[in-house]
């Protein structure tokens, strides 16, 4: 056996000697990892040229008395350093419509323009979990075709479908559907009440305005960059980044192409942090208070977002910390404790909250460092107005329940049913919107589609990361059982 592999095995056994029983498997995995190493092949010319560039920059840095442009720009960035002060102000004001003390991310009341029926083309929920489910197909089994019971209550095992559930993970403690730690088979059953679908069938689309346009290029051109921008054609500003020049400062990144902005810690201004050994999680209210305070201090307009709540990953981590019994012991992830958690403030459109396709609320997201008790980033802050268009909806409750019992969106992954499958119970659905992206060539549109939100009422405590199962009322879902398309509505329904 390769000496390198032997050494790695020794390391593993020094931590857990019982793993020696799985030596053959471990060797194969290590071999596979070794064989998968991509060739990095650094270019020696690159090394040389970067070296020269760095050393050449030493002299001016020494001689230069760094002139930093400070200015007051609302409560958010009290000391922003930027090469061109006027440019930063103009760009930022143009983008956000800054008023004193508040960063405007759009109109307080959302501007929604109706554009007629079916205006956004076909709505297709593609298999977005494909990347995560690759390699699992071998373990697949056909979806049960048995229908839900007539009243949709208490469906039996035979009408449920085994589907994998991915525990949340990922670095930085901020999570997203599709980033998993562990897979557990699960069966879903509906235990809620009878219901009628009352949706107005309005699909929303975010409209991206670009107030920066090409005019802002003229502003840049007036700066002494040693470059005549007039020599370039059809220039426009795509993005800018401005940063606070102070301890624990932040950077603001503005993407004019998508009308979004994000705030990140300015790494260079945050002191080195030696890490943490957190032994207990602070209460939710304390974490949300840190986030709320940050948003209020920096005057971010929250009028189109709902109340903040911790993302579901926290539940996973809490369960892990408590050592809750997992249904599949040998699949149980090691206890992990994220230093970071995310607070999400759901986007609200037409009194409906927006969810992502994994069932978590979707909107402005704030990352909080629990060890330092500071906000580290704010994401998914969007601007712009919306268009709405009426679509036919699926109104057959039984069929919708049947889809929910197969896991709804993100639920059509394959995994063998097992005796120790999680038993997930679904309650009476509410109505909301689910976000999706429609790709058209090189551009993508952010759409919000009316959906039923089935709350998970039982079975969630054991490492189950989802809060809800989503069933869209409009469009088509890729049926992962056979790669076909499941139209929504399933039967033609008259437009209301």
């Amino acid at each position: 056996m390769d000496e390198k592999i032997l050494k790695i095995l020794e390391d593993i056994y020094s931590v857990d000697g019982s793993l020696k029983a799985h030596e053959e498997a471990l060797v194969r995995i290590i071999q596979k990892l070794l064989a998968s190493k991509p060739e990095s092949k650094i270019d020696e010319n690159f090394i040389s040229s970067l070296r020269v560039k760095l050393l050449e920059s030493a002299k001016p840095l020494k001689e230069e008395s760094p002139q930093k442009y400070m200015f007051d720009l609302s409560l958010m960035f009290k000391r922003i350093v930027f090469a061109g002060v006027s440019l930063a102000v103009i760009l930022t004001v143009a983008f956000f419509g800054l008023k004193s003390g508040t960063i405007k991310t759009g109109n307080n009341a959302l501007a929604i323009k109706n554009v007629g029926s079916n205006a956004f083309g076909n709505i297709v929920f593609s298999d977005q979990s494909k990347a995560q489910s690759q390699g699992q197909a071998e373990n697949s089994q056909p979806l049960s075709s048995a229908p839900a019971t007539a009243d949709g209550r208490g469906t039996s095992q035979s009408t449920s479908i085994a589907a994998p559930i991915m525990g949340m993970g990922g670095g930085g403690g901020t999570t997203a559907p599709g980033m998993g730690i562990a897979y557990f088979p699960a069966t879903y059953s509906y235990t809620g009440d009878k219901f009628e679908v009352m949706s107005d069938g309005l699909v929303y689309k975010r409209v991206i305005d670009n107030p920066s346009g090409s005019d802002l290029v003229n502003v840049i051109n007036k700066m002494n960059l040693g470059l005549d921008l007039n020599k370039f054609g059809d220039l426009k500003v795509d993005s800018i980044q401005i940063s606070e020049d102070k301890e624990f400062g932040y950077s603001l990144y503005i993407d004019f192409t998508q009308n979004t902005f994000s705030i990140n810690q300015n790494w260079e201004k945050w002191p080195q942090f030696a890490g943490s050994n957190l032994t207990e999680l602070p209460p939710d209210s304390q974490i949300i208070a840190i986030s709320d305070k940050f948003l209020a201090d920096y005057g971010i307009d929250m009028s189109k977002y709902g109340k903040g709540e911790l993302m579901q990953s926290r539940i996973y981590y809490m369960a892990a910390m408590k050592g809750a019994a997992a249904p599949a012991a040998d699949s149980m992830p090691m206890p992990v404790y994220s230093q970071y958690v995310s607070v999400v403030y759901p986007l609200v459109i037409g009194d409906q909250e927006v969810y992502d396709q994994g069932g978590q609320k979707y909107g402005l997201t704030v990352g909080v460092d629990l060890a330092q008790k500071r906000v580290v980033n704010v994401y998914n802050i969007s601007t712009g107005s919306f268009e709405s268009s009426k679509y036919d909806i699926e109104t057959n409750a039984e069929k919708l329940i049947g889809i929910a019992e197969k896991g709804g969106l993100y639920g059509y992954n394959y995994y063998p049913a097992a005796e120790n499958s999680l038993k997930i119970e679904l309650g009476t659905p509410t109505q909301g919107l689910v976000v999706m992206w429609k790709y058209d060539g090189s551009k993508s549109s952010e759409m919000f589609v009316p959906s039923l939100i089935f709350p998970i009422t039982s079975g969630q405590e054991n490492y189950f990361y989802r809060n809800n199962v989503i069933v869209p009322l409009v469009g088509s879902m890729m049926d992962q059982s056979g790669g076909g398309i499941m139209p929504m509505p399933l039967e033609t329904a008259p437009s209301k």
Binding site: L26, I47, K62, Q134, M179, Y183
Partner: protein
């Protein structure tokens, strides 16, 4: 200025010592040569400008430098995709509109879904140990943890991979490697 024992005159030596390692470190997080070069350049430029902020009492130079590289990669993807939960290319779906070297994509095809499921820190330790062949002492410096902790993280990550790799893939490994 902090008394860190490192100054700009020393930087050329440090650059020579670390540039290849940093490039590889970044390449394994980007899978794209040009991107890795850009971010390597950015990492050393930041480090060079901020060298006087480095505090030897708070950690080793290598820890500090790798942290800058790690943050640079994270900033790159988060700014590009505007998601809070992206640390590197492993957090993106395979079909995301991000440049990847074909060779890297091909080689990683079979294992990327499983490596993806590891926490970023777990994955980093596994790849430094297996791909870079680093000792735990070296890895500990890079990730800012002690050696024994890195051993435990590595061992658990490999164990997790063992549990996650489906039987079919595992059998194929057995067949192809015999």
């Amino acid at each position: 200025m902090k008394n860190n024992g490192v100054n700009k005159e020393d930087f050329a030596d440090l650059y020579d010592q670390y540039v290849r390692k940093i490039f590889n470190f970044i390449y394994y997080k980007t899978h794209h040569r040009e991107t890795a070069e850009d971010l390597t350049s950015e990492t050393f430029t930041k480090a060079f400008r901020k060298i006087e902020d480095f505090d030897a009492n708070k950690g080793k130079f290598s820890t500090w430098l790798y942290q800058i590289a790690r943050n640079t990669v994270t900033d790159f993807y988060r700014a590009k995709k505007n998601y809070a939960n992206i640390d590197d290319i492993w957090d993106l779906a395979a079909d995301e509109d991000i440049l990847r070297d074909l060779d890297a994509a091909r080689k990683l095809e079979e294992v990327q879904d499983y490596l993806k499921e590891l926490k970023a820190e777990q994955r980093e330790i596994v790849l430094l140990r297996v791909w870079e062949g680093m000792t735990y002492r070296e890895i500990a410096e890079i990730v800012g943890k002690d050696e024994s902790n890195c051993r435990v993280v590595f061992s658990r990550a490999i164990q997790a991979l063992r549990q996650k790799m489906p039987l079919v893939l595992f059998l194929s490994l057995l067949l192809f490697n015999r």
